[in-house]
């Protein structure tokens, strides 16, 4: 990969990230104004480079270079364009623009492919605005999605979706949901510390952990902070704090490999001199063994159920579940050979993060390539990967696509 190509990749990454300029981190929550501008920019790059661009009605964008011999056999690469709130510069975006760069590299160096090369920019993966995850790849692969969702501000998924997708109908862009690819390769930052801690340059993903997300609701009674005797309170926050302590302990005892995160919490009325009457909090829990997740889900239900009393009512709702996913062994082996040939130090590992690949793997042969995350940080403004590592990932992807499509 030439310096020109690397500069172009850096420039494009910078261009998309500049859309969140002046904010804390990246904020491309699905269907937000920043998200719309980002997906429009990706589409415009595709049109300028002569790709056939199609947008489906969730806003996922497909950019094809038709194959000269087997146009119906599609070799796809890509990732998601959305971010969490206050997210990083590379999560998702690197797989979209790295994939675009890899295809561009091949067009420049070896010309048109025999099979169709496709770059996919999925609309949404993070589940950070609406209470569902991977809606982009789920829609592409025909999985059910709860369309009645609303975001924390009460904006409905359907209204947000229609408004945003309408703005992607740029001249030259087709509408529709194209046929599924023969393979899907997702280039992504590791988002964890394992590669960086072991000074490795490439991670080849064997499987993706299963994860479940819950919302716990605690209903107490809002009351005056000064006049309500301590023993006559129904303090929803005090109860929530007890539940979180208890569950965090039990998760730790159950299995050291089980991740347990309370990342989101809403307190009502959220005023310093009022006892909270209503608190909701999220639970995100992951493991590469389904049985452990089943066990912990039982524990959550038990703890939440038995803690409530006559004045405080607790309830729990699981709103997201994804099983452990095993990725394609042949593509893994092939990428391992390429990494070795290119002289990249690498390891094979399971992904602790969920990815569109786990959705794509249900319908097609799928593989993932990780590059190191500095300090293992992601989903945060400090998320970073060295230029050299970004370059290695794209080189490996380029070689892999070459092997598959030419």
């Amino acid at each position: 990969m030439t310096t020109t190509q690397l500069n172009q990749l850096s420039h494009r990454i910078g261009t998309i990230n500049a859309l969140s300029k002046g904010e804390v981190g990246q904020n491309r929550l699905v269907y937000s104004p920043t998200w719309i501008s980002a997906q429009q920019q990706v589409i415009n790059w595709g049109l300028q480079l002569g790709f056939d661009v199609t947008v489906d009605d969730f806003g996922t964008t497909y950019m094809d270079i038709p194959g000269t011999v087997h146009p119906d056999q599609i070799i796809a690469a890509g990732s998601h364009i959305d971010t969490v709130a206050q997210g990083g510069r590379f999560d998702g975006l690197y797989g979209v623009l790295g994939g675009l760069q890899a295809i561009e590299n091949l067009l420049e160096s070896v010309g048109r492919p025999k099979k169709t090369l496709r770059l996919i920019s999925f609309s949404e993966e993070e589940g950070s605005r609406f209470p569902d995850t991977f809606t982009g790849s789920k829609h592409y692969t025909g999985q059910p999605i709860n369309l009645a969702m609303t975001d924390p501000n009460g904006v409905s998924f359907e209204d947000a979706r229609r408004n945003a997708v309408a703005k992607l109908k740029i001249t030259g862009v087709k509408s529709g949901r194209p046929e599924l690819p023969s393979t899907f390769t997702e280039l992504h930052i590791e988002q964890g510390p394992r590669l960086i801690d072991h000074h490795l340059q490439i991670g080849l993903v064997t499987s993706i952990v299963g994860q479940r997300r819950f919302t716990v609701t605690v209903k107490g009674i809002a009351n005056h902070a000064g006049t309500t005797p301590m023993d006559e309170r129904a303090d929803a926050l005090e109860m929530a704090v007890t539940l979180i302590s208890d569950l965090s302990q039990q998760a730790h005892q159950l299995d050291k490999g089980l991740t347990f995160t309370v990342g989101e919490m809403h307190i009502s009325p959220n005023t310093s001199n009022v006892i909270p009457g209503l608190v909701t909090f999220s639970i995100d829990t992951r493991h590469n063994n389904e049985a452990v997740l089943d066990q912990f889900e039982q524990i959550i239900n038990q703890v939440v159920e038995r803690s409530q009393d006559t004045n405080i009512i607790n309830s729990v709702n699981r709103w997201a579940k994804s099983d452990v996913t095993h990725l394609d062994d042949q593509l893994l082996a092939a990428n391992q050979k390429i990494a070795d040939r290119l002289g990249f130090s690498s390891t094979q590992l399971a992904s602790g993060a969920g990815h569109d690949s786990q959705i794509m793997a249900k319908v097609t042969r799928t593989t993932m390539i990780f590059v190191p995350s500095i300090n293992g940080i992601s989903h945060a403004p400090e998320e970073n990967t060295s230029q050299e590592d970004l370059l290695r990932g794209v080189e490996l992807l380029t070689e892999s696509l070459h092997q598959q499509a030419y």
Copy 2:
């Protein structure tokens, strides 16, 4: 008090509360559009009834009926017009409109007073929008206020204040901060369960508890909920939960009479799949003995200090402090006599809530009259007081003002 007068009081209370129609509870946060409409309505009622109306530059409204013999001796009644978020129908407002009704009753039944009668509608008491409390009565009595405050949305106190007060400059309204009164009587709901639990009709307030409010800030490192090993996290919410559990336990052990409330909490970025990097929470603590408050403040500082580690930094800031206040004994005794004469069952009690009276008591003879709160609930939409009890409070206030001003 006649049925007409009672209906008028109920009608006026209904008119102000209707301004928050369609919302959860009352939302007259200081200087909000609803607050502006409410204070404008009070001013218009005053003007219609022939009061001399003055508004100071914090938006506190003073409505006078000049005395015929000693116009310079001022007998004042009133309370605050603001509410907490999702507050109740009577907190503050009952003292404003009940005071207005009492003065109107006297004008109808015994004509002009010898001393000046003044109704005060204080701009702010709750401390629910900006991080300071009692700013209305503090400004009137010349106490310092931090003008550099901003609300959670970053709106500055000064901008909000200027914009709102400008809208109160109705024709016929004077601008300025009038001289202090000779006495101040505040009619208020108890906001606690003691009167209702003992089937009492009137509470006469001996003193007001001291209270202190703090904000605790926990700085961790935001990171990915799935890829960050449990033992490599700097989870700000997990730390906050530990601090709250610990402090709540220590408050309980220190003194059963000490109230401890965490009413407000902010989590950043507040997304289910991101480990929180920053959490702030409030502490509201009250007692009628300064020494206990001093002890607990030490405990807060110790716990917050010793809990932090290399990855998580905690800090605590006390932003509000009010000492235990003893109200006027003569006015208390006089009101006790009136209550007995009217045949109202009553008790003398300390207030667990802070009130403008504790600020006024620093500069003038001050007393408070409580009426029962159904189920002891306040600072919540369920806050309620029976028509009969509302009536009794106004009758007692009417008699008290008659005794003082005629």
